[in-house]
Amino acid sequence: MNILNWNKNFNRLREAVSTQAPVDLWRTAVQKVTWQGVSVALLATVSTVASMDAAAVPLFARQTGQNCQACHAGGHFPELTPYGRMFKLTGYTLGQRTSLPIAAMAVFTSTSVNGGTGTMANGQPTFNTASLFAGGKLTDSIGMLAQYTYNNYQDGTQSGHMGSDNTDIRYAKHIINDQTDLIFGFDANNNPGVEDVWNSSGAWGYNVVPGSTGTGANQLPLLAGGLAQQAVGAGAYLYWNKTLYAELSGYRTGDGVFSFLTQQQGGQGAYLQGTNPYVRLALTHDWGTSNAMIGYTYFDANVYEQPAGLYSGPGTYGNTGGPVDEHRDNMVDFQYQYLLDPNVFTFDAAYTNEQIFYGSGGLGGAGGTSDSINEFQAKANYTYQAHYGVSLSYFNVTNTDNNGLNAAATCGGSGPAGVGQCGTEGWTPDIYFMPVQNVRIGLQYTLFNRAYGTTVNATANNTTMLYAWTVF
């Protein structure tokens, strides 16, 4: 569940695709994606389901004895219901300790990009990622969710890499009686936003399936997964009267003793200066079959421009030396849910503005200059009987270009010749089917109105993806 890696995969795919070409052959690829992908997805699904016994459901379901739908809206994981949020906020401690405190997840995808054919992930089924989850209820007040991911498709090959993925450890108390309802707790994690229960930031954002294009090749704010498994953080939170949520956490470089939480795919890439604040506020309200949230997130991170050992300027080397870029993120988000069996409808939107203040010339700009990134995402999702679903997402990402942010390399891909922009805009419709609670098979199409800052030939980035997502 690491958006950074999904984006990396997508960007690598893009690079490979752009060096191939015949655009008019894409239909062949779609046919391949359809038939080969369907075969593999179904085979994988059937074999997975067939190998499960009645008790073989995911970690938390085993702990609570409940179905996925109890915590995930319409069973559409990872999106949380109010009860699922309470489960997480009370430290994953509801239920009973299990003798098998692990679960696994696997994602199979088959992708076809409009403008290209012939790459490993393009038109051919791909075993994308597999994750092992461990943890759950540890004591009456302490619980955790630790994800360890095997990223099968990396560096354009099927050679896999294993590493630590999202990890969230909590201590929580719930003071509740006729007069008071207060949850408070402490949290330690390795991805700013992974602790959030409204799925708005990148860590558990529910507008993407592992392996999907997400918002395409662009510059995203750090909150969108930029420090996933690069930083470690700890903080305190409270949730009062099911109305007000407040959290203050601090993040630092996840090196040294924390390396086991951060050395994922490719090791430590980002180094932070000192401890960097993460603030989360949310107002929530439940009424009848509905609930809504309006929230705000602030994250201010000082990131060294060069990784440790690479800084060649004066002064000390290593992760405490060199010029620093400040990334200041402000996010506002909104969520609405309608929950009444057999209908589940959800809508969410998040807008993030990131201001980057350059310390020197790390990205090509002079010290004292700045850039900004704006990311808007919205999604509507409907699930019927927790089996059939359809969703529509919209994304719009733009950035300024004072300091080379729009250079093709910093966009994370190789854009069309002569185009020096990063922004993307588009729509992602998705239809899916959940034959059983822990399997989702879906077909997703991402339509780009704008890519690399231009509408010209943007549709060459359009992507069809068939996926089978299993948790067991």
């Binding site: 004895g65 409940q66 239920g95 009973q96 201590y171 203050l248």
Partner: protein
Amino acid sequence: MNKAILSAVLGAALLATGCSNLQSNTASIRDLNDPSVSGHVLAEQVCSMCHGVGGNSINPTFPRLAGQQPAYLVEQLKAFRSHDRSDVAGYQYMWGIARSLTNKQIDELAQYYKGQIPVPGQAKNAGLVAQGDAIFHNGVEATGVPACASCHGPQGHGHDGFPRLASQHQDYLLKQLSVFKHTNDRYTGLGTMMSPVAYNLSGDQAREVAAYLSSQP
């Protein structure tokens, strides 16, 4: 980042943790496999997440339990535990919750909710409520539906194993009438009596009686 602020917040939270521990060692236990935890604590720490701390839930997926008849709650919790009650929402949510409850905890839970004060819903459609009132007290002679009040009491407060229906969510009542009418998922205990009743109740009549009951104190 101002480390002093961060330290102050963490320190204050740690202090609060210590105080709460002094206050009570068991009040924050959400362990469903610990027979030493009282039904009262379970009601507050676990059940309240869906049913509300006073048993007046907000989302109609979850029934209101405030003022419910203890004998009925005991029978239902045991039916969840034994899987004799298997309606969809029941097994999705309640089989796991009830799987390790002891009889003592079940009795304590039933007494806890009996002591809570029910909050009635708002009557949105006076016409529906009036029709429902008539069905509840007189039945439907043409289709042989008996008066609901004959078992559930003239005010819908229930008695013994017959559940309290007054102030229950309209959508929850409708869902359960549908379960009784179309499935055998609740064909256990006194629930067996409801199948023929629900079978003869039309969709409109079910909506009317549910609207009436949800508005009653």
